[in-house]
Symmetry: C2
Subunit: 309 residues, 2 copies
Amino acid sequence: MTENPFAKGAAYVNGAFMPLEQARIPVTDWGYRRSDVTYDVVGVWEGNFFRLNDHLRRFRASMTKLHMVPRESDAVLARVLNELLRLSGLRSAYVAMDCLRGSPAPGMPRHPAYAQPYLVCYAVPWVWVAPPDMQERGLHLMIPQVRRIAPEAVDPRVKNFHWGDLTEGQFEAQAAGADFAILLDGDGNVTEGAGFNIFCITDGRVATPARGALEGITRQSVIELCAELGLPCEIRDIPVEEFRAADEIFACTTAGGIMPASRIDGRMMNNDRPGPISARLRETFWARRAQGWHATPVDYQTPYDEAAT
Amino acid sequence: MTENPFAKGAAYVNGAFMPLEQARIPVTDWGYRRSDVTYDVVGVWEGNFFRLNDHLRRFRASMTKLHMVPRESDAVLARVLNELLRLSGLRSAYVAMDCLRGSPAPGMPRHPAYAQPYLVCYAVPWVWVAPPDMQERGLHLMIPQVRRIAPEAVDPRVKNFHWGDLTEGQFEAQAAGADFAILLDGDGNVTEGAGFNIFCITDGRVATPARGALEGITRQSVIELCAELGLPCEIRDIPVEEFRAADEIFACTTAGGIMPASRIDGRMMNNDRPGPISARLRETFWARRAQGWHATPVDYQTPYDEAAT
């Protein structure tokens, strides 16, 4: 019996499907060399995409903002993503879609308008941003010295790989004995961490930053759950002083759902455990997921046929 | 007669030499996926590296700042770069050295400290940032709406691929009919353009921004030439109003030397021609280069031998 060559991950590179380890980018591609790329990630949990159309809509908006038009329509892209699941057979996966600039052909002006953007997509077995044991004890967060890249320079709503600030924050977190850094903007308001949005709760009121962060789809799900549960939820600036003094804090992301924190800058919250409202939101989130909330079933049977889309 | 497979470019990827088109990066590598990478570029002109040791020193400082230690020493790296020229036979080339984060092995914490950084280097035929005819008529510059990423977020002295702001600037430049955008910082001071430093000249005094820009090696060469020529040269903040009203402006970069501008935001300088001091600096720069200034000859004879370094 031959092992499925796609079992460790399946990829699509500008029209061709291949095992993940064959998916590579030219060193001269501006998607790498100028980080001239946008991306999105949709989760598949137990055979269902979560909020697939919301991810496709955001990805298309990001590409448009960057003047990128790949050859695939949203309908074709959805079939491509499905094929990555079918080839790999993965039931729970992290499914990435990148649009890279490419680079101008020789002899053309060296301006991004003369490049032909293209898609690279892949599915890999589900990876937690924070391992389950860390989620159980609660994340240990800290505020680093490094500041988040300002929206006036790079729009954080266009999902991007400009992670130099977030990476530096992760080194500062490690030095402080914490798990994750939460970066401030230039005005002293909290923004986001390395790949996740944040919320804080004070006196029963939930809040998440209005600016300087990705408009996360899991964040949107939290806002919807707060409405369902009758929890007041505000989208506004959150000064670092308020954040440091909050009753509860949690992070949220596609590859982690809702992840409560138990410490901020060394201060313990809730006797060093996830807080009750955060825990309730997390339980509700996974219960709703199990009920098929915002789910699109993966079609593991029908092979990809671009002509049929 | 077989064509040299390295003629269009030679590359080195973590220990192996190959033709440039084979040099590719895994789509999952954090060097791409988080733009967790630093780089440098040294020019070779007519068989000589320009300021090779200055580039090696800056590249090492950048890697150290990012907590990256590849397996190659500076001495080995210098031999690697030489080998790229020997293999390709290029007499004038753009020679890039990148250090990528890699990514943590499966099962390790998903933190950059657990990855093994590695080098990717390549040499390609010389490419001008601005084509020679554009340099002769003078660059047309403009100030875009997008702001440069702040040093508090990403240190511009650590050469990086966080070009989202510069790329957006190039689209704004194109829409305005200009060649290049010069980005401002949050305080209204000019910083740099897409891959080059800038200088302006008012009443015979030369100035270049003190903050928010790469500490360019060609910029350093200009500062040295100003001293030789008896031109006062200041490193300080340059407000956009001063820049827009300057007598002369020029850009400088490894892949272009000194490139005078003739227009800024549609205003013509020097009757729409490169200014006299800029032109003198440019001529002096290339004359000094021809004399062997800061030159390290490429050794086109001796094959690479890592054990011998």
